[in-house]
Amino acid sequence: MSAFLFYLFATLTLGSALLVVLNRNAVSSAMSLFLAFIGMAGLFVLLEAYFLALQVMVYAGAVVVIFVFIVMLLDVDKLPRQRIDKLSKGAATIAFALMVTGVLWLFHKDQFTGPALPAEATGAVLKTYGRQLFTTYLLPMQVTGFLLLIAMIGVIVISKRTPAATAASGK
C-alpha cells in the first residue's frame, strides 16, 4: 500500500514539475506548481513528517496565489513571445540529460542504506518541534522572525512607486 502511494505521489510531483517547465502559459505553470507541492506534501506524509506536510500545503497555497496574482498584474501572456533559439534549447536539454543520468547513476545501487529504518518517526510528534525550536534552535528561530520582518519592510520599500518608474512607464 505504501509503495503504491509512494509511486503515486512521486509521479504526481515529477510529472507536475515537468509541466511547470514545459507549459507555455504562465498560469498553467503556476497551477502545475501547486500540484507538485501537493505531491511533495504526500511524500512528507509518507515520511511521517505530518507537520511539515501541512506547512508545505500552506506554503503552496500562499506562493501559488502570489504567482498568479503577479501574472495577472503584469499581464505576462499579452506580451510578445520570443522564440528560444535552438542552441540554448539544445544546451539546456543536454545539461538536463546529464544531470538525470548523474542522479540515476549515483543512486542505482543501494549505497545509502545505513542502519535499518527507525520504528518511530521523530518528526511525527509535534512536541519535538516545540522543544527543539525553543531550546536548541532558539537563536535561529528569533533570527527567522527578524528576517520575516525585514522581508516585509523590504517588499514595501521595493514596491513603492517611485517618480522615476512613473516617468519610465509613461503614465
Binding site: 505504501s2 515520511l47 504567482f67 544531470m99 538525470v100 545509502f112 542502519p115 521595493i158 514596491s159 518608474a165
Partner: protein, 101 residues
C-alpha cells in the same frame, strides 16, 4: 513494505534536475522563479528523508526554517520582478541585458 531511502533521494534528485532544466530553458522570469522553488523543495525532500531514516528530528526543524525563508524570498523576489516590469516593461530575460558589453 518500506520504501528505501534511495527511492526518496532519486525523487529529490530528479525534482532538482527538472527545476534546473526549467531555469536553463525558460525565458520568462516568473517561470524561472517557479523552477527555483522546485529546486528548493527538492532539497527539503532530501532533508526530510535523511531525517526520517536517521532517527533524528533536526532535519525536520531545518526544513521548517527553509520553508519560512523560502516564503520570504518569494515575496521579495516577486516585488523585485514587479518593479523591474515597471521600469522596463518586460519580464523576458533576453531584454534585461543592461550589463551586456
Amino acid at each position: 513494505m518500506t520504501i528505501p531511502l534511495n527511492a526518496y533521494l532519486i525523487v529529490a534528485g530528479l525534482l532538482f534536475a527538472i527545476g534546473f532544466y526549467g531555469v536553463l530553458l525558460r525565458r520568462n522570469t516568473l517561470v524561472i522563479y517557479m523552477c527555483l522553488e522546485l529546486m528548493l523543495n527538492a532539497t527539503t525532500l532530501a532533508l526530510v528523508a535523511f531525517s526520517r531514516f536517521n532517527g533524528t528530528a533536526d532535519g525536520n526543524t531545518f526544513v521548517f526554517f527553509i520553508i519560512t525563508v523560502a516564503a520570504a524570498e518569494v515575496a521579495v523576489g516577486l516585488a523585485i520582478i514587479v518593479q523591474l516590469f515597471r521600469q522596463r516593461q518586460t519580464v523576458q530575460v533576453e531584454n534585461l541585458n543592461a550589463l551586456k558589453n
